[in-house]
């Protein structure tokens, strides 16, 4: 039987506010346990939550960016359950009336086609603390630094049909939230994570199959592997005459498998009800207008503009708009060199620069070579001071912090030899030293031209202008 896979994602994006969603405590990552939890975060008797307006602004920004409805009135609700890292015994979230509802985003499929993925809702909520089971023998440590950190939970429609689509969607949201500067997207620190709802159904069937919810997916790779494992498990189960049970499953990246965490019947009754400590969240037109003004150019718009203005391919444009910083870097280089050199700039940013960044595990924001410096290097290729090959050596020196392109070219004497007389003299030498090859060439073995060019370059340490060398060689040999 042919099966169709149905996937929906719930993405938790930690909002990049300075303080927590309902208290003034810092949200900075990595502090000593329980040093960034104030009385409100600790759920002390008598304390009350006060909503952080910045978190609301960020949620509204996201809503506008996905073309969704930003609710004029939304309500915070309490989700009640007991757990040691949940200090109040309830999580403040949004339930019936979320702040963002009904948007969408376009993803690219492998074959280059695009697909629209619906976003059901996005709501504001507070994160819980962390339970540390490993470090305390026979006990559990509780770190409440994360408690009260603002989250935007982004819930998609069940619109994805493969693990690859799910990853493409997650990456798209990841790019978007960083563009909007509402989330740092750091998956290792848990700032961006997701749960996946997965089910399968016979192709052509209208009703959805029974779904399972996969938890603990904190990398793109795990999302893909966990979903693929789960799809296979479900299909095998059904084909063997079994039934998928609605349950929550945990992905174990070490064993690459999912295993049951709790069945639906064991699920908590969260007893949601409106939080009486917080008034309904009201958003008016002037607030939205203000937020609208802060919206940057969005990834898709930037990509299309790059294709049109700079004549880039869809692939190049896509890579160069992968993050706002990358796009800014690229455009800064182009602005210095002029639009006619956009392709050269693209090759260098995507080639040497990205390669070096990857090798060192650095983000574009951490690059040791600024956009102005790279433009300075490329300008020397354009004005024939150095060849593209020499430029790569200069780039390496720049990466190592040896200074600007001009200084390195000067210091290392890498300036290209363009003096025809000087080149001619070396060409003559090479011809004189290789009588056998000259004979063969003249007998018709024209492929030997490359050999002669190589010899000239060797003698000039690669500094001779390759165009002039070619021309002179042909002239003299011909």
């Amino acid at each position: 039987m042919e099966w169709e896979v149905v996937i929906g994602l719930e993405i938790h994006a930690q909002l990049a506010t300075k303080s927590k969603i309902f208290s003034g405590a810092s949200t900075a990552y990595g502090a000593l346990p329980n040093t960034q939890a104030c009385l409100v975060d600790l759920g002390y008797p008598g304390v009350l939550p006060v909503l952080n307006r910045e978190a609301v602004r960020m949620a509204a920004k996201f809503g506008l960016a996905i073309g969704a409805e930003v609710a004029r009135r939304s309500v915070f609700a309490r989700k009640n359950y007991f757990y040691p890292d949940l200090p109040k015994g309830y999580q403040i979230s949004q339930y019936e009336l979320p702040v963002v509802a009904g948007g969408s985003i376009e993803i690219e499929l492998e074959d280059g086609a695009t697909k629209v993925i619906g976003i059901t809702r996005a709501h504001l909520e507070e994160d819980a603390g962390k339970s540390l089971h490993e470090d305390f023998h026979g006990m559990t440590g509780i770190d409440l630094n994360r408690a009260g950190t603002p989250l935007l939970e982004i819930v998609s429609e069940p619109d994805m049909r493969s693990a690859k689509e799910a990853v493409a969607y997650m990456k798209k949201i990841h790019t978007l939230v960083r563009y909007l500067e509402i989330c740092d997207g750091n998956m290792q620190e848990g700032s961006f994570r997701c749960d996946a709802n997965v089910s399968v159904r016979p192709k052509g069937q209208k009703e959805f199959g029974t779904r399972t919810e996969l938890k603990n997916l904190n990398s793109f790779r795990f999302v893909e592997r966990a979903i693929n494992y789960e799809i296979e498990r479900q299909i095998e189960l059904i084909e063997a005459g079994g039934k998928v049970v609605q349950e929550t499953r945990l992905y174990d990246p070490e064993k690459n498998e999912t295993r049951s965490l709790r069945a639906k019947e064991e699920a908590n009754d969260y007893r949601y009800f409106p939080d009486p400590d917080l008034l309904p969240l009201e958003i008016d037109d002037s607030f939205l207008e203000e937020v609208k003004k802060t919206l940057p150019e969005l990834p898709d718009a930037k990509k299309h503009r790059f294709m049109e203005s700079y004549g880039l391919s869809a692939y190049d444009a896509s890579v160069l708009t992968g993050s706002r910083a990358m796009g800014d870097y690229y455009e800064s280089v182009v602005r210095t060199l002029g639009d006619e050199h956009a392709k050269l700039a693209a090759n260098w940013v995507m080639g040497e620069l990205s390669g070096a960044l990857n090798k060192d595990g650095k983000e574009i924001t951490e690059t040791p070579i600024s956009a102005a410096q790279l433009a300075g290097l490329l300008a020397r290729i354009i004005d024939n001071t150095i060849s593209g090959k020499i430029a790569k050596d200069v780039f390496e020196a720049m990466w190592a912090g040896e200074g600007d392109a001009d200084a390195i070219i000067e210091k290392k004497g890498l300036k290209q030899i363009t003096d025809t007389g000087a080149i001619e003299k070396i060409v003559d030498e090479v011809i004189a030293e290789n009588p056998g090859q000259v004979e063969q060439y003249r007998a018709g073995k024209e492929a030997l031209l490359g050999y002669f060019v190589g010899q000239v370059m060797k003698k000039t340490q690669g500094k001779a202008n390759p165009g002039q060398v070619n021309q002179l060689l042909k002239q003299k040999l011909g």
Binding site: L39, L42, P45, G46, V47, V50, G89, D269, P276
Partner: protein, 483 residues
């Protein structure tokens, strides 16, 4: 000295006729002498004397405000920095708060001296002060009877003049009912008028801090201090605070008093009804107009209250889990065991009853039938009050159906106990301000007149109360042995 009002003490302090230290020593002495009332959970003698000396020093420098040096008692539901805050529960028996509630902070800033923390029903759940882990409080008017609840320690302390004034909280009548049963003046402001920050939550949408005092004038002086917006409480209202003492003596001739006919039901002791009629005559003499009004859905207020309040309390009290503060059971064997036994052993019967009721009404499958329906009936009750205020300036009626009942008399029957709050619950559901003032005695036991105001019209309500207290002397009467 203890027979004086705050207003009088303030004048005496200003004139140098007494000092805050002398006053404080006097009240501390009375607290010791009447310890059998069980009105206090904690007495902060040393801190009180230190604060009194500070207030006296300020006064010598001419920097003291009108309330500086006045000794008061705080209900033990308000968090007090460095002082035990128990909420009358075993759960918080040894809890020392690391911060001050806004109410406490504002009173401190005014220079007031805290004598200690008063007894109350556990987590403010009760109408008789009998649910306190620290034992029942006795009514100074008859020590075999209850002082009302949940602010029973404050009402008893005020009736016995163990402090110049006390604070209370009113979720479903917990200031007005005990004030009525002890011949004191209770004031519950509009929901949102006084910050709830630092007041241990029972039912967040109903809880409101207020005062129990000797007179309406004293209540006005205290409200001047505690009222106002607090950015730490999102439900507090950003509205200017008038000088509540400025309009106390305003003429009430021509103003309209509405008397809801639903207050005069079968459960009302006819002698209480007679007292209300007598009180209304006083107002008629002052030129006020009395009209009949109807609050047709008032009968729904007790059932509505006992869905809304437990629902919120079941969630509010989840934080008492034995993990971070408060009572923890001995040798827990697992997380579940820790939760079950810490909460099972730390909470008293009434608190557990309400947590269970609240958990039930919020559960999947019951939410619509109970919680959602209660929200709708709450809206109907509120509309009734709002409609009445289109035609009247204040509403008046009895605070309680009867005078104080005996200790132990109603503890086995929670429903009968709940019905004691039939006239007061509705005001909390509507969020309006209410008062109870002394209006006479039945067989030597005091009863109270309830005055209800429109939203944020505390000044008008206090004006009515004060004009009545100028014409009558009920509020000056003290129980035997406490004069």
């Amino acid at each position: 000295m203890h027979t004086k009002t705050i207003a009088e003490l303030s004048r005496m302090l200003a004139a140098g006729e007494t000092s805050s230290e002398e006053l404080t020593r006097h009240y501390l002495e009375r607290i010791r002498a009447h310890a059998d009332l069980n009105a206090f959970i904690t007495v902060t003698e040393e801190e009180a004397l230190a604060e009194a000396r500070r207030a006296d020093a300020l006064r010598r420098k001419g920097e003291a405000g009108p309330l500086a040096g006045i000794p008061i008692a705080q209900k033990d539901i308000f968090c007090t920095d460095g002082v035990k805050t128990t909420c009358a529960s075993k759960m918080l028996e040894n809890f020392i708060s690391p911060y001050d509630a806004t109410v406490v902070e504002r009173m401190k800033r005014a220079g007031m001296v805290m004598l200690g923390k008063t007894n109350m029903d556990e987590f403010a759940m009760g109408s008789s002060n009998e649910t306190s882990y620290f034992g029942p409080v006795k009514n100074p008017w008859d020590k075999t009877r209850v002082p009302g609840g949940s602010s029973g320690g404050s009402s008893a302390a005020m009736a016995a003049r163990l402090a110049a004034a006390t604070t209370g909280t009113d979720t479903g009548g917990s200031i007005r009912q005990p004030a009525a049963l002890t011949n004191t003046t209770g004031l519950k402001p509009t929901y949102g008028r006084v910050s709830r920050y630092g007041m241990i939550a029972f039912a967040s949408s109903l809880d409101q801090a207020g005062t129990i005092t000797a007179t309406a004038e004293d209540a006005a002086m205290l409200l001047n201090v505690i009222a106002g917006f607090d950015e730490r409480d999102s439900t507090s209202v950003d509205k200017p605070v008038p000088d509540y003492t400025a309009t106390l003596n305003d003429d009430i001739a021509g103003l309209v008093i509405g008397v809801p006919k639903e207050f005069f039901d079968d459960g009302l002791d006819p002698r209480v009804a007679e007292c209300v009629r007598e009180a209304l005559k006083v107002y008629e003499r002052l030129g006020a107009k009395i009209v009949d009004v109807s609050l047709p859905n008032l009968g729904l207020s007790v059932p509505t209250y006992y869905v809304v309040a437990p629902a919120e309390c079941s969630s509010n009290l989840s934080r008492f889990d034995g993990v971070r503060f408060g009572y923890r059971c001995e040798n827990p064997t697992s997380l579940e065991d820790l939760y079950k036994r810490s909460r099972g052993e730390g909470f008293g019967a009434e608190v557990k009853r309400r947590i269970m009721t609240g958990t039930y009404v919020l559960s999947a499958g019951y939410y619509d039938a109970y919680y959602l329906k209660a929200q709708k009936t709450r809206e109907l009750i509120k509309e009734d009050f709002c409609r009445a205020f289109e035609k009247v300036d204040v509403l008046m009626g009895p605070t309680t159906p009867t005078a104080a009942f005996g200790i132990g008399e109603k503890t086995d029957d929670p429903i009968t106990m709940y019905l004691n709050d039939i006239y007061v619950n509705g005001v909390n559901l509507a969020g309006m301000p209410g008062m109870s003032i002394p209006m006479g005695f039945i067989d030597g036991l005091p009863v109270g007149l309830q005055i209800i105001g429109n939203y944020f019209e505390e000044a008008k309500m206090l004006n009515f109360a004060h004009r009545y207290q100028r014409e009558t002397d009920w509020h000056t009467k003290l129980p035997k042995g406490f004069e």
